[in-house]
């Protein structure tokens, strides 16, 4: 009985994976299409669209901007949600209220927030630039990291810290040898999430970013026509990401084994 349910679940998970990746697979396929068709039949392989995408200054610049913004957002968000996560090791007055306040960032409808931020910048006379989108990205990514950290920290964290102190660890050493290592999986998870959210954000950035980040660029392009060069961009992202991930897991396999929880 148990075995059947396991296999059923494996098949099901595979189906869901298939569902999520179905459009991806056709996207990759048609990015190599020699014609500009984005629907079957497939006309034959060609690298036209990759050339077009890489040759388009608009796309390349937007991509770079997205990447830069994504990295900066991730760095800042990770630092901030890690610090905040450390605060929540013990309960403190107002802790619950502050948490909900921070969580408002993820539930706030993006477009409303974008509008508000635009008004904010307007009132202060700050011109819209790439970096004016940074706070929008931070507001959205920090709560996820904080939720992840709070949900996964060991409830015995404070006892471990006490134990470390009784074994001769100063506060700095406690942090370095006990607290942070135990936070690490959540921190990494939160950072990955943060990058994902930032790199692909559309709705929050829409009014407060100029020039366009990649998602915005593609959005406006798509208003004009749907062509495989957009698919080429998407495919490159997928291929590069998978590549990076394989590399990272290869180099980190020792650490991963050590950390296996």
């Amino acid at each position: 009985m148990a075995d059947i349910s396991k296999y059923a679940l494996v098949v099901y998970a595979g189906a869901i994976g298939g569902f999520v990746y179905a459009p991806i697979s056709t996207m990759v396929l048609f990015s190599f299409n020699s014609s500009s068709r984005t629907v079957p039949p497939f006309d034959g392989p060609s690298l036209n669209w990759y050339n077009a995408a890489l040759g388009s200054a608009g796309i390349v610049d937007a991509f770079t901007r997205s990447l830069v913004l994504g990295v900066v957002t991730t760095a800042l968000a990770t630092a901030l949600f890690t610090l905040a996560g450390l605060a929540y090791r013990r309960s403190f007055r107002g802790g619950s209220f502050f948490f909900y306040l921070i969580a408002v960032g993820i539930i706030m409808p993006g477009i409303t927030y974008s509008l508000g931020l635009e008004l904010f910048y307007g009132n202060l006379g700050i011109p819209i630039s790439l970096w004016t989108a940074l706070p929008a990205h931070l507001i959205w990514t920090i709560p996820w990291g904080l939720i992840l950290v709070r949900a996964t920290i060991d409830p015995n964290m404070l006892v471990y810290e006490d134990a470390a102190r009784t074994l001769g660890a100063s506060e700095a050493k406690v942090m370095r040898h006990v607290t942070l290592p135990l936070f690490l999986p959540a921190i990494i998870g939160g950072a990955l999430f943060a990058f994902t959210l930032s790199f692909t954000d559309l709705v929050r950035s829409i009014f407060v970013t100029f020039p366009d980040t990649l998602p915005l660029e593609i959005y406006s392009l798509s208003q004009l026509r749907v062509a495989p060069d957009i698919f080429a961009v998407g495919s490159m992202i997928v291929i590069v990401s998978i590549g990076l991930l394989l590399l990272a897991s290869y180099f980190l396999r020792g650490t991963l084994r050590r950390l296996s929880l």
């Binding site: 015995n156 134990a163 102190r165 001769g168 660890a169 040898h177």
Partner: protein, 370 residues
């Protein structure tokens, strides 16, 4: 002569609750010192004050004569074993035990040797490369003990270390701890709510209640000569009968109780003073009729419990439960609801004049209730 630990007038409040109330005591080098008491008595707080995990509001804490009151934990010559074991989940058994030495920047060679030796001492050598989550409770606690011992502390603090283990395991580890103490002669400060552990392990026992010390004495003394009703009840099973002094004078005191009059030599009391008669169940004599002893009472058996090794009887005498303990299986003549006679020798009875140092009303109710 310097004491290993001197606690001098230490108080600690949490909010409006006095967890530790102006407490003073000494612990001698190499002794096995137990702090016992019910939950909330302040025993764990006292231990944490010694560890430096908590700062006292007032008073001083001296270790080997030096004032450590405001010294942070990591600089104190102590180590600690926790009730929940608190092994670092991300480190192997070996790394857990090595932790203290690594914090002290001990050379690699030393670490290897000392950790291996200590793991052998607690019989956990084969588990050196395992992670804590792969171990059972008893195994984790052994590692916790090893971790605390390997740094060769002057004083080792143990916070209910056997609390999370099943009974058989408790007894086993209890014996091992005792052995370790005899071997290593480090000062052990052991906190527990289980007075049987304290009785088995401790050389001296400090009974705490509501932040105060009720009695601090050698273990045997605390058992046979409790200084007040609270201690009498907390340490082991007891028979307590409340009474009031009818007359006192000329070295003779008469106490009137529900069970009758008792006469005591020595001590002087006020008339009408509330006192309590106390003796241990093993000193109760029980028979189907006419039990021997200077005082005897008729009653009805309300409960019999046996472990095969010992049998406990509870006899209802005029509403007061009197306990008796005998070795072996129950006496076939004495069954539940049987009419029996219970007796006690005069010199086995102790007269107590204080309910407790903390003077809580709870104690008095407990005396008449259970």
């Amino acid at each position: 002569m310097t004491h290993a630990v001197e606690v001098d007038g230490v108080s600690k409040k949490f909010g409006s609750l006095a967890a530790v109330n102006n407490v003073s005591f000494n612990i001698e080098s190499g002794e096995f010192f137990c702090l016992i008491g019910p939950s909330g008595s302040g025993k764990t707080t006292t231990l944490r004050l010694l560890a430096g995990l908590v700062q006292p509001d007032s008073g001083r804490i001296l270790i080997h004569g030096d004032d450590y009151t405001h010294v942070p934990t990591f600089k104190r010559p102590i180590s600690m074993v926790f009730q929940t074991w608190a092994l670092f989940p991300h480190l192997t058994v070996f790394d857990n035990v090595a932790f203290g030495l690594r914090m002290r920047n001990a050379p690699r060679q030393t670490i290897q040797e000392e950790v291996r030796k200590t793991l052998e001492l607690v019989r956990m050598s084969e588990y050196a490369n395992r992670k804590p989550r792969e171990l059972s409770g008893g195994q984790q606690q052994r590692v916790g003990i090893a971790r605390a011992l390997v740094v060769r502390p002057d004083i080792i603090l143990l916070d209910e270390p056997l609390g999370n283990l099943d009974f058989k395991l408790q007894l086993q580890l209890q014996e091992e701890l005792s052995q370790m103490h005899r071997q290593l002669r480090i000062t052990f400060v052991y906190v527990t709510h289980d007075q049987r552990q304290a009785m088995a392990l401790g050389e001296r026992v400090c009974v705490m209640n509501n932040g105060n010390i009720e009695q601090l004495d050698e273990t045997a003394m605390v058992y046979s000569k409790p200084s007040n009703v609270f201690v009498a009840r907390f340490v082991g099973e007891s028979n307590i009968v409340e009474g009031s002094v009818k007359s006192s004078g000329g070295g003779k005191n008469t106490v009137e109780t529900v069970l009758g009059s008792f006469v005591f030599d020595g001590g002087s009391f006020q008339r009408e003073q509330r006192v309590w008669l106390f003796w241990r169940p093993e000193n109760t004599l029980i028979a189907s009729e006419s039990a021997s002893g200077d005082y005897a009472f008729e009653g009805v058996v309300s409960a019999i419990e046996t472990s095969g090794q010992v049998t406990q009887y509870v006899v209802d005498v005029g509403g007061i439960p009197i306990r008796a303990v005998k070795t072996g299986l129950p006496d076939p003549e004495i069954g539940e609801k049987a009419k029996v006679s219970v007796g006690v020798k005069r010199d086995q009875i102790l007269l107590l004049d204080t309910p407790s140092v903390s003077e809580t009303g709870q104690v008095e109710r407990a005396v008449l209730g259970a």
